[in-house]
Structures are given as C-alpha cells and as structure tokens.
Symmetry: C2
C-alpha cells in the first residue's frame, strides 16, 4: 500500500442554475449558484462519483489546499485523497457548499438580483430535501446519473439519507455518519438558544445587518460556544481541560479562569468573524425540520421502503449530540424495511466531533467499506 497523500492544490468551481427551484417552504428561487470542488477523475462510465455532504458549518473545501504554502486544508482532508479511505485514485469526489451557505453558493449574504442588495431576511429557509434537489441538479450538470456513494456526517448524514428516499435510483451507497433520523426536543432546544442569541443581538436588524454595516457577532459567538459544548463529550472535555486553570490560581473575576473557558471563547471569537449569522440560522432550521418519517405517519421504515441504496451507518460511543442510539434507530428502520445495512459503533473519546477525526478503527471501517464499493463498480 502506498503512503496516503493529499489531493494537493485544488480550485473551487462554480455552477450556475438558471432553472427556478421550488423550495419546501413554498418560495421559488429563480436562479442560484453553487460552488464546488472535485478531487480525482470521473471514469468513462461515470460510475465512480462520490458526493460529500457538509454539516452545519462546513463547505465545499473538503480536501486539499488552495496554495502549496497554505497551512489549512479542507475539513475532511484526513479522509479524502490518494490512498486515503475515500481514495481519489479510485473515486471522483465532489464537495459543494449548500444553497444558503456563506462560502460562495447563493445564500443570505449574496446579492439578490431583484433588489441589488444582499438577500438578508428575504432569503428563504432551505430544507434538507431542497439541498438534495440542488445537489441532484449539480450531478446532472456533471453528467452523473448515479453516485457510487453519498457520504455525510451529522447534518451531512441527513442529506445522504434523504437522497436515498428522494432519488432511490441515483445512490448506490449511502454512508450516514454520526447522524440521527430527526432531532430530539433537547437537540431543538440547543438550536433555539443559539438562534435566540443571534436573533436578539441588537446588531442583527431582523437579518438585514448587511445594509446596516453591522454583524451580530456577539450572538454568533455565543451560538458557536454553545455548539462546541455539544460537539465534545463530557469525558473528552474532562480529559483535555478538566479544571485546569489558566494561571494556576483563582483570580476571582470574569476573565478566563479555566482553560475550557479560554478554548470556548477562542472558538466563538474565531467563528464569529468567519461565518454568516443568517446561514447559521438557516442550517439550524434545516436540522430542526429534518424528519423523513413525517410524510409516512412517523414510521421511518415506511419512508425508507422505497430506497434502493446499500447503507453504512456509523456512530461514536461518546457522541451525545447524536448518540449511537439515534443511529441504531436508522439501522432498525432499515432492517425493518429489509434493506442492506452495515453498522459500526466506534469507541471514541471525541464526542460528536469524532466523525471529523482520524481514528484507526473509524478509518478502517470507512476504508473497508469504500473498497467494497470500488470493487462493486469495477465489476
């Protein structure tokens, strides 16, 4: 086996869609753009394409760098590349920024051609099923009729799952990682606190802060701090930070006392300068609304009855945002519907974030499953 490598320097591309799209919320977008990246080569019969769906704060820059000198890589660079579990010597991998995003695809911060101003509050809510439709159109534009696999973690896993229902014949394999069939009340509650932090920020201006020259940075910072708590496990946080003090002594004030405070504030500060608050709101709503069983009397196995894909479901032991029991709900519904499903529950300290980490057991499962797919399409 050759040493795994990076996909190297990559360039983002843009696809323009002039055919209007009717969204689940009832609004029609006349026109939109999606930015995307590809890694590897599409084979002659276009059977080796893999779509990577991103989670709440992800984007199209999944692997590689934009310049040789860049230190930062794409968000799933450890998973994708020549010789990596998702091997770009064998697969043609597509990453995109979802509609409503803030990394180049049409979203709330884009200019609305009708007004010449950023959409802001006029940008519609976009649901997981809408993303699937836009992704299908991107596939059409690339001439891809059927994906070898659609892969996503967290909210990305929900997109993979939705694909198998919306377009059964276009997905050979769905890899649903650290995900859930729908949010619990507690999941929604955390999302709502995050949203309220943004919505009540005086700089939010009802979503039209672009025109006011402001940014609801305080709200977005709080939302991200809170999010981070749910991404990490109690144990993992304990092991990494515990009650470690910044200075070794109690200072009895409101500056950073404990290292965990420093970590969270840093993460919040950084995110609040990089991400768009309206996109954050939109992403959390897509999470809340996701529930494919809803059109099937709450029965997920009925929703999955029409699927034709094979499934790999992966969960992580200390993930309490979307715990293993949530993944097992998906597995059970698939089994009830007599579908082909493999399930891996990975021992990890890293909570929900584990799906982004390089872990031998996790990457081993992914590598083995992707090998199976490669062999299947080579037949």
């Amino acid at each position: 086996m050759t040493q795994p490598q990076s996909v190297g320097v990559v360039t983002a591309q843009k696809a323009v869609f002039d055919q209007p799209i009717s969204l689940a919320c009832g609004t029609t977008l006349p026109r939109y753009e999606l930015v995307y990246e590809t890694y590897g080569q599409l084979n002659a019969d276009k059977s080796n394409a893999i779509l990577i769906c991103h989670a709440l704060s992800g984007n199209h820059h999944v692997a590689g760098k934009y310049a040789e000198t860049d230190k930062a890589t794409g968000w799933w660079d450890n998973m994708i590349g020549p010789g990596k579990p998702i091997d770009t010597n064998r697969f043609f991998v597509i990453g995109l920024n979802n509609l409503g995003g803030c990394h180049g695809s049409t979203g709330p911060s884009s200019i609305d051609p009708e007004t010449g101003k950023p959409y802001g509050s006029r940008f519609p809510l976009v649901l997981v099923r809408d993303w699937v439709e836009t992704q299908a159109r991107l596939a059409d534009s690339l001439g891809i009729d059927r994906f070898a696999a659609i892969i996503g973690g967290s909210l990305g896993g929900m997109q993979a799952l939705r694909w198998t229902i919306s377009h059964p014949q276009r997905v050979r394999h769905a890899l649903v990682i650290a995900s859930a069939p729908k949010l619990t009340a507690q999941n929604i509650a955390f999302n709502d606190v995050a949203r309220q932090a943004i919505l009540t920020d005086p700089e939010f201006h009802g979503g039209d802060y672009y025109e006011h020259g402001t940014v609801p940075r305080r709200g977005l910072r709080l939302a991200r701090m809170l999010g981070h708590i749910t991404y990490l496990s109690d144990d993992g946080m304990g092991e990494k930070f515990g009650r470690l003090l910044r200075s070794g002594e109690y200072k009895y004030g409101f500056d950073v006392e404990f290292e965990i405070e420093s970590y969270l504030r840093y993460q919040g500060d950084k995110f609040s300068t990089l991400f768009d608050a309206n996109t954050y709101l939109l992403m959390t709503k897509a999470l809340d609304y996701f529930d494919p069983s809803r059109d099937y009397e709450g029965d997920l196995s009925k929703a999955l009855a029409q699927t034709a894909a094979k499934f790999l479901v992966v969960s992580f032991t200390t993930d309490w945002r979307f715990s293993p029991s949530r993944s097992r709900e998906i597995v059970k519904a698939l089994l009830d519907a007599r579908k082909d499903v493999s399930y891996a529950e990975i021992e990890s300290q890293h909570g929900h974030d584990a799906f982004l980490m390089e872990d031998p057991a996790y990457h081993g499962v992914m590598r083995a499953y992707l090998n199976r797919i490669a062999e299947e399409i080579a037949r």
Copy 2:
C-alpha cells in the same frame, strides 16, 4: 398519619450583621444583611433546627405563602410543612437568601453605603465557603449551636457539604441532593456561555447597569434558557415536548415552531424580569470555584476526614447536570474517610429538576431519614 399541610402564611425576617466579613476572594464586606424565613418551633435545647441552602436561582422563601390568597408557594413547599418529609411539627426550619442574592439579602443590586449607589461591579465574588460563614453567623444570632440537619440540592448540596468541613461540630446530618464534589469542564463550559451572554449584552455596562437605567435582559434570558436545558433530561424533555408543533404545521420561520421553543423562551422571558444578572453571574462563579478537595491535594476523602456529620447523599438517574456518578464520588470519598453515609439513587424522568419534585420514592427516602434524625435528637 395526619394529612401533610402547608406551613401557611409566613413572613420574611432580616438579620443585620455589623461585624465585617473577610471573603475568600480577599475583599472584606464591612456590613451585610440576610433575609430569612423560619417554619416550626425551635425546641428548648435548640437541637431541632434545620438549615435549607438554596441553589442557583433560589431564595429564602422555601415554604408557605405570603398571603392566604397567594397562589405561589415557596420553592420547596412540597417537602416542608406539618406532616411533610421535613416535618415542621418536629423541626425548626430556616431558609435564607444567600449573600450576593437578589431577594433581599445584601447583593450587587443593594445600595453600597459607601457610595449611596448600587454595588454593581463593585460587589465581590462570594464563594460557597463564604456563604457557610454567613450562615453560621445567622445561626449564632438565632442561638443555634448545632444543626440537626443542613439540607440542600445542587449548589445547596455543596453548601451542606462545605458546612461539614468548615464547622464539623455544628452539623449533625448533611443531606446532599443532586449535587457534585466539583464541576466538570462541561459544567464550567455551560456556565461560561451563560456568563458570556450576560457580560456581552450591551445593556450590561460592566455590571453597573443599575446606574444606566438598563437591564441586560437578553443575556439573562439566554442564560436561563440554556440553564433549563441542563435541568431537564433528554428523555423527560422528549416525553413532555418531543417534536410537538405549536400549530401542527411547519411555518418555516423563526417564530415558535416546536413547543419546546415556546417553553424555553417563556422560562427565559419570565426569569429575565425577576432575577438580577449580577447575582446570576456570582452564583455561577460560586459553582465553578467550589472544590473542597483543592486544599487537600485534590483528595476529597482527606477534605472530609475532619467531618463529624452523618450524610445522606441522593441522586437522580436522568440528572446529567450532576449525574449519579458525581454523587457516588462523594459517597466513595466519605466511605474512604470512614464516615457514616447513606446513598439513594432515585429513578426519575425529571433530570436535575427532580430534586424539586414530589416523587414518592424520593420523598419516602427523605421522610425516613428525617424520622431517624427526629428520633436521634429526641433521645
């Protein structure tokens, strides 16, 4: 057994302390007041007194009403009264508002006699050990040398535990309910998000909002919403709210969609008009700093070696703020120190909030243990 009754109409009292107190943070308060209530009669040898220590948002109004026509009762009215588990026919029960509170005891919103203005940012941080000292002085003023029991849930349990270390001879029994020997990184993380919500609220004005005629209501509201998530269990929230929609249909907007959002926002709104933000900050810091093992090389059993009380430790199965394993840490340390400890782990759906609820198994344990105390002091 007679039917349990309410303690009826009660009146708050005020104790004034003119002897300065040196706080753990290094500041000396020259003078302070504590409001408190008492229920039942102190017996001749003053051996039947019970102190109730409150949690983050609690106060001195523990049982009864202020007027016959009041609908609201004290926060632990189901536990305290004639014929109730903490039986006021047998015990003299004291509830107080801790120093730094916002219900009548000296706190950040009180007038600083030196300046004639509210303390605000000039009010010092108060630690659990400081509260114990002020409570001891209150006991002195009432002629109570030794408590039959000191009882508290959550942060209140930490005070009961601290009492046994600071004043071993003054506590016959300590009842430590739904508590923890110290916060984890995750606990501190949630507190810090809540604090950052308040501290970054533009109406906070560095803690001196009283002088600006503002209230950091948005921040306090977010803090309380977040708090509520940690008080309830995922299961309990699921059972009560699930994915219930306010209107039965998705509205695709940022108003309330799910009932859980309605509940949280209501709780946050209500709290933000009733509670003082500086007190909230102070209470969360007292939680963060609490760690009696810190003066004993991190060994809780060493910290407890000097205690002379008997202990009842109670936890609730679905409490994830201070889970049963945290209570078991206290029990283990007490056993290691060869102390007399009883432990009850109560099956409950109600998460951390279970300590405030009327549950037959929980109240049965409390009743039986309090009976034992009553018999002990009658000997």
